[in-house]
């Protein structure tokens, strides 16, 4: 019971890191980027390839994955994404599905369609157990690491968003792009850097999650639905919304798959639809700007 909760929290944290970039992109530019999962996949493959071919230690691979995908995101933002901002939602969706298709087939072609396995270092493979009376809490060391990294990242992001000049500019742009522009904030630069960092975070999540989620060329579509659920439920106005949404999603998914394995992801989708019917604009929609 506690173990399931623990695994659910770890899973949710992972989803949060993967989806937060998408949430910011959607909130900032109203851009529905269905290719977000492709960046996560890129991060995962960078890690796998570095570890297998160059024996780079795992902990070093994760920041490299972040950097590589951030650069990739920056390049794509400048070349392909920017002209799409003003287009209708349908165009954006199809455009980014197209990008995801391209990314998936490139990976399939160059690396192969089989699932990649990450060889974790020895010290991450163990599992500690804590007993509270009758309840036993089993904590995989790797999941502990995921939770730790995610907590650090969340605090860092929260700090950047609320206590730095960049953060207040970002929040201003999310609230109202035109007014922010009028106040002399360079919204383009804000968005460019946010997109890069968001993609980088997806890559980092992909690198950390490859072991838990599995990594193969269908990754972008398999998990895109989860990212979208996080964003749709959590709203785009703060970090807490997506964080809570990903925790709910993670726990519901792990518990659902454990107690009712035959129903698959049924529980998650049902929970999502119920929440969206109850609060169509997400759990933490703020009234205002839009």
């Amino acid at each position: 019971m506690l173990t399931i909760l623990f695994d659910g929290v770890a899973y949710g944290m992972l989803l949060f890191i993967l989806a937060i970039g998408l949430s910011v992109t959607l909130g900032l530019m109203n851009f529905i980027n269905l290719a977000h999962g492709a960046f996560a996949m890129a991060g995962g493959y960078v890690t796998v390839l570095l570890m297998q071919n160059h024996n780079v230690p795992f902990l070093l691979c994760v920041p490299i994955a972040f950097l590589v995908t951030a650069v990739l995101g920056a390049i794509l933002e400048r070349t392909l994404y920017r002209p799409m901002y003003g287009k209708p939602a349908l165009d954006q969706v199809l455009f980014s599905i197209g990008l995801a298709f391209i990314a998936m087939t490139i990976v399939d072609y160059s690396i192969g369609s089989s699932e990649q396995i990450i060889q974790l270092p020895h010290w991450l493979r163990g599992r500690s157990e804590l007993a509270f009376g009758d309840h036993v809490l089993g904590m995989g060391h790797y999941r502990l690491l995921i939770i730790a990294v995610c907590i650090v990242l969340t605090i860092l992001l929260q700090y950047v968003l609320t206590h730095t000049r960049f953060g207040s500019r970002l929040r201003a742009s999310v609230d109202d792009q035109r007014v922010a522009d009028g106040l002399g904030i360079n919204v383009n630069v804000i968005f460019f850097s946010t997109f890069a960092v968001g993609s980088g975070l997806a890559g980092l999540g992909g690198a950390m999650g490859a072991e838990v989620l599995g990594l193969d060329p269908t990754f972008p579509f398999k998990f895109m639905i989860y990212f979208l659920i996080v964003v749709a439920l959590g709203g785009t106005s703060s970090l807490t919304g997506p964080l809570l949404a990903s925790l709910i999603l993670g726990i519901a998914d792990v518990a659902g798959k454990y107690y009712m394995p035959k129903l698959g992801s049924f529980i998650v989708y049902a929970v999502m639809i119920l929440i969206l019917l109850w609060r169509p604009d997400g759990l933490f929609a703020r009234r205002g700007a839009k």
Partner: protein, 324 residues
């Protein structure tokens, strides 16, 4: 203008143009001359029917659905089960499947009335995924991952038995498509259809002039569900088989692509899109069986980046349009 002329001008859109019967002879001739192509023509007709049903929701009512396969799947399985347990007559099965699809779409229509675009996309997607999982779970009814097997169809109207070369199936789906296109044209050009376009363009204004927007959206969604179910039923009838693929996300995405390729809010948009998409699929998957989605991706990115108007006029590509 005399009242009669005005009346004539207004009715002009609903008329069948001179070139249309000629256009309709083409697929029939293709099937008659090259029976080997009947499977391809059959698929095109089925997906065209499916695409016009999505267009009713997406193009006319302006509701973005990423889970339209839900109703296609409902129709496919309703038709399969009906043929297996009730009677193998295809037309009765088609009507039954449409009723099932329409009812399920009516129930789902309550979920798409509120919320932002993203919310609606997620809810429609969620419904189709749930149906997929349920179908996967109810193995005793649907056959699970193996699909519903052992569907044997009686001859259409007791006259035309389904053959192994798929020629009857191709004619069958073409005729069904033609019938639905005639009805569809009446629907979208009726005051109801005009009302839908008004809702798409400005929902607030539409309700201000007295249109019951919720009711119209529900009705449009129900109709679209019934048409999608008809497409699914025809698929089952011509394949003698219903698989869970009918519910898959890929199918919803494919049909969305078809509508967009062909053009939204245009009667033949879905038909053109289905022909182009399935034709492309056929050619590309012959060339590169595994990687044809790459070219679909390239095509999509180009289509959206350049815009459909400019894509069909390549000479304007490098003149530096509004996006530089």
């Amino acid at each position: 203008m005399t009242p009669a002329a005005v009346h004539d001008a207004l009715r002009d859109k609903t008329r069948i143009k001179v070139w249309e019967p000629v256009l309709w002879l083409v697929p029939l001739a293709v099937v008659a001359l090259f029976p080997g192509s009947s499977f391809l023509v059959n698929q095109m007709a089925i997906m065209a029917l499916f695409a016009i049903s999505l267009d009713l929701v997406l193009g006319y009512a302006g509701i973005m659905s990423l889970g339209h396969a839900a109703f296609f799947g409902m129709g496919a399985f309703a038709a399969g089960l009906f043929a297996k347990f009730v009677m193998p007559e295809p037309i009765a099965g088609l009507v039954f499947a449409m009723a099932v699809g329409g009812i399920s779409a009516y129930l789902c229509s309550y979920t798409i009335l509120r919320g932002s675009e993203l919310t609606i996309v997620m809810v429609t997607l969620g419904v189709s995924l749930i149906l997929f999982e349920v179908g996967n779970y109810m193995t005793w009814l649907t056959g699970g991952a193996d699909g519903l097997q052992g569907v044997v169809m009686a001859p259409v109207l007791g006259l035309f038995p389904f053959t192994f070369d798929g020629v009857t199936a191709a004619y069958y789906s073409l005729v069904v498509l033609a019938v639905f296109l005639v009805v569809y044209r009446r629907i979208v050009n009726s005051p109801f259809g005009t009302g839908l376009r008004l809702i798409r363009d400005n929902r607030l204004r539409a309700s201000a002039i007295g249109i019951d927007t919720d009711k119209r959206i529900k009705l449009a969604y129900t109709l679209a569900g019934a048409i999608a179910a008809a497409a699914g039923a025809v698929q089952t009838h011509s394949m003698n088989f219903a698989s869970l693929d009918a519910f898959a996300f890929e199918r919803s995405a494919d049909v969305l692509l078809m509508v967009v390729i062909g053009g939204t809010a245009w009667i033949y948009g879905g038909v053109v899109g289905a022909v182009v998409f399935i034709g492309l699929h056929h050619v590309l998957s012959d060339l590169t069986p595994q990687y044809w989605t790459f070219w679909v991706g390239v095509f999509l990115v180009l289509l959206m980046r350049v815009g459909r108007d400019r894509l069909v006029r390549p000479w304007t590509w490098f003149k530096g349009g509004p996006h530089g």
